[in-house]
Subunit: 218 residues, 2 copies
Amino acid sequence: MGTSKSSGRTASKAERRTQLIEATIRCIAANGLSDTTTSLVAREAGLSQGIINLHFDSKDGLLLATLERVVDEYRSLWEAALEAAPADPASRLAALVEVDFHPSVCDRDKLAVWFAFWSESKARPTYRKLCAARDRDYDRVMRELCRELVAQGRYDVDPDLAARALAAITEGLWLDMLVSPRNVSRREALRVSMGYLAHLFPQHFAEHFKLQAERKAS
Amino acid sequence: MGTSKSSGRTASKAERRTQLIEATIRCIAANGLSDTTTSLVAREAGLSQGIINLHFDSKDGLLLATLERVVDEYRSLWEAALEAAPADPASRLAALVEVDFHPSVCDRDKLAVWFAFWSESKARPTYRKLCAARDRDYDRVMRELCRELVAQGRYDVDPDLAARALAAITEGLWLDMLVSPRNVSRREALRVSMGYLAHLFPQHFAEHFKLQAERKAS
DNA sequence: TATCTGAATGAACGATCATTCAGTCAGATT
DNA sequence: AATCTGACTGAATGATCGTTCATTCAGATA
């Protein structure tokens, strides 16, 4: 069987697809979506011209598969983090935010891909559906956690508003990390988000935030 | 002189450039940056093929001029709002936030343009410089206002962190308005941002926020 | 070892792109 | 009314794009 090395003339279908998708991510980040050509992607993957049509039928198929890959990876990451976190809403919310600034999520190449597809989502309904599906589930979980926290701590906070603000902060920081990575590091971004949580839910996050600040000082 | 109607065979240089830039904005929003071609823009403007090279030398020149236009317009809007606002930091900060959700800024076509260029900023240093220049001045003003507010109200808040979070919220909400405009209206976005300010600086913004909520209820 | 299989190649294709430029035309000048 | 000016046109051009397919080749099979 051909489930061996990924570099030879033969590799499993899944391996080739992954190899091409990763090359696509690098190409989009390096050249922008408008200058991402099939031959460029093929060269980046170290393969030949026709390879993309062989594995994805068309360039559009490759781009769609790339978006799907990034979306699925992100989703499984935060679902796993939620699974692994303690049952209390504060820990779960913290886990969610920490995933958002995990190196694998904040990878600048992947951020470039996210924003490339977001920016074309108005023109391409297919992109929009995929992205909107991501938002819907993520927002639902985050809103629910905020509600539980507000009830638990008797905070004077609109949980829906807080959840929206928190999601917006994350997306805004992602943009900052993409456009001016010098100004915003992952750690700083995490501090901004956690700082917001500490203000909203002081009983639950004040400690968490302080601890993180000290860790930074040392 | 030819400073007359914009639709005839003759129009002033500035008018034609504006006409073409506006057509470009619509094209980017409708088709995405990757599918924005010179002939499409020319058709959208109701003019002929070669018109772009005549007024902007190249397609790249047109795209750059479009980005510059959007950047400049945004800058002059918030500078004017700052000028018109009362001198106290709270009013000035509120004015800044209100501009961010002004119809002219939140116009979905323009948002598509912003994100199109942001998403390619990693690949194109020229785009990055233009966008980074925007951020630098805006952030500086916002940070300064937060500092003044913290000092004035003796809040237990890190002003730099607050300014960053506020800027991130704005950008995140812009993204939401672009990708899923059904979920986030301008008014709701403004409420999210103002809600954040009300939490951070209750003495200064609690009233403002309540008033806005009542206005919404009626 | 010889044969078979299908993954991978890369030259070739038509389509589409940005750009050019000789020609056209509206409006100002004389 | 005749001429001039320069903004504008649009067919033509070369370059580049995505896609195709006859051919090649590595590894499994007999």
